[in-house]
């Protein structure tokens, strides 16, 4: 404004001073954001400014979808309707059994004297088609703290576990997917009950199971379900299917990878889950896994509490010896069956 009198020279040194001050401020901000998680409020406020831009950015894909749906031919709609009807019927039939099984499960649990854990409240949220940092597997969903979303909340899609909420703003929230290299998820092999940790690879279609000993009973096609040990995800939700096992006799652990059952690259809707009581899993588990339960929830908490810092947590998941020591007895018992 006042520069008009001296329009040839601007600011002089003040630009440099400003750069240095703002640079220092940036470093302080980054440190606070990375190490201390203090900046939730700042982020939420700024997120309100950015929100309209996100709506605008997400508009073209939405409009495209809308056009597609509006002008879909009648035959297509009829076919889709038919397909949905069939799958609905199938699901209904399966649900009948499910109700009976759930009742039975509850009865058995009562006999055992432990608390029940029926799946809690769910909320369907839509993914906002907005690109975030390509180096992290994060997506934005259109529900926020206004709908009761909280940090660390488990998120599923129709086929399996998708990830967990890592940042919440009033109107939307960010979900970290299980394939992010910084994410580790306590899982269980459905067939054998073997517990381990599934770590993200940075590839949307692949998970790593780095802590399985060479002699573990494992086959391609085995389903991994959540074990509930991390105290974040309720137990029993499908996570991934084992797709490759390689044993290197020179290494203590087998090299195992798995394909997530959730279609992480194609998700449109995500289910936000409110587990009924997050303490229950801890009550149920100790019966057979005291030794392991002592270590793994910590593993999961370390890795899940600070998802903003990828490689580091993945390294701190080193209590690799814990799963081994806790599981070798039954693993040994089962390897004879495998004979490989």
């Amino acid at each position: 404004m006042s520069g008009d009198t001296n329009s040839l020279f601007l600011h002089g040194p003040s630009a440099l001073v400003r750069l240095i001050l703002l640079g220092l401020l940036s470093i302080v901000l980054m440190t606070a954001d990375h190490r201390l998680n203090y900046l939730g409020a700042v982020r939420s406020t700024l997120a309100l400014v950015v929100y309209p831009l996100q709506i605008v950015a997400a508009f073209p894909p939405r409009a495209w979808d809308w056009v597609g749906e509006t002008f879909a031919s009648r035959d297509q709609l009829l076919a889709e309707n038919e397909r949905l009807r069939t799958s609905h019927l199938l699901l209904e039939v399966r649900m009948q059994r499910h109700a009976a099984l759930e009742a039975e499960n509850q009865r058995l649990r009562e006999l055992l004297g432990s608390t029940t854990q029926v799946s809690g409240r769910m909320l369907i949220s839509e993914l906002m088609s907005v690109d975030l940092d390509p180096y992290r597997h994060e997506v934005l969903v259109n529900k926020g703290s206004q709908d009761g979303v909280f940090e660390g909340q488990p998120v599923l899609d129709a086929l399996g576990v998708m990830g967990q909420v890592v940042r919440v703003t009033p109107l939307n929230s960010t979900v970290l997917m299980i394939t992010d290299p910084s994410h580790a998820l306590p899982v269980q092999i459905n067939r054998t009950g073997e517990r381990t940790v599934a770590v993200g690879t940075g590839d949307l279609r692949l998970l790593r199971l780095p802590y399985l000993p060479n002699n573990v009973d494992l086959r391609e096609g085995d389903l991994l379900v959540t074990s509930g040990l991390g105290d974040r995800f309720p137990a029993g939700y499908p996570v991934a299917v084992i797709n490759a096992i390689s044993h290197d006799p020179g290494e203590p652990f087998a090299r195992v990878t798995a394909l997530p059952t959730a279609h992480l690259a194609r998700i449109r809707e995500a289910l936000l889950l409110w587990p009924t009581s997050r303490k229950n899993t801890a009550v149920v588990v100790p019966a057979d896994a005291v030794a392991e339960g002592a270590d793994q929830p910590i593993v999961a908490d370390v890795t899940t509490a600070q998802p903003a810092q990828p490689a580091e947590p993945a390294e701190s998941v080193t209590p690799a010896t814990a799963p081994q020591s806790a599981t070798t007895p039954d693993a040994a018992a089962e390897t004879d069956g495998e004979g490989r």
């Binding site: 302080v28 901000l29 690109d131």
Partner: protein, 162 residues
């Protein structure tokens, strides 16, 4: 004249907003790696043509908003954009008289600096940015700059932003 200028300030902010929209708009598959740094380009243009009004502070603020929009560490883009604004404001007399293609290379250099800073920050916070694809935005920004420059030039002439 002065009144006209102040009234057209909205155009600058609108262009910033649009650039941010482009920076989060979903791109198919591997195109996402080649996304130009739209907000940085627009910032360079305004900092170059009006270094008195749009400088380090504006760049930093824009970067902070980009941080939030893209889910990066708070301050990561802010730092890089403040640096870009600083270089532009310092060299604006030279950059202005360069031919467009030469400007494009200066812009690419600035984006490379920003990406290097950003890589350093990611390295410290433990993110892995392996691969040559990381430098994709610098190349695409180089290609896109002449169009951005001519477009914004025309726009600012049309609306007499000064």
């Amino acid at each position: 004249m002065a009144r006209v200028h102040r009234n057209n300030r909205w155009l600058v902010w609108l262009s910033f907003a649009l650039a941010m929209v482009f920076s989060i708009m979903p791109l198919p598959g591997s195109f996402a790696w080649w996304r130009p740094e739209w907000p940085a380009l627009v910032l360079v243009f305004w900092a170059m043509t009006q270094p008195r009004s749009y400088g380090v502070g504006v760049g930093w603020l824009l970067g902070l908003l980009v941080d939030v929009a893209r889910g990066a560490l708070l301050g990561q883009y802010a730092l890089g954009y403040a640096l870009i604004a600083f270089i532009t404001v310092t060299l604006y007399r030279r950059i202005r008289v360069f031919p467009v293609w030469q400007q494009a290379f200066v812009v690419m250099t600035m984006i490379v600096l920003h990406l290097s800073l950003s890589m350093w920050v990611r390295g410290v916070s433990g993110e892995d940015v392996g691969g040559w694809r990381y430098w994709g935005p610098a190349v695409s920004s180089l290609i896109v700059w002449p169009f951005i420059y001519l477009f914004l030039r025309r726009l600012s002439d049309l609306y007499k932003v000064a």
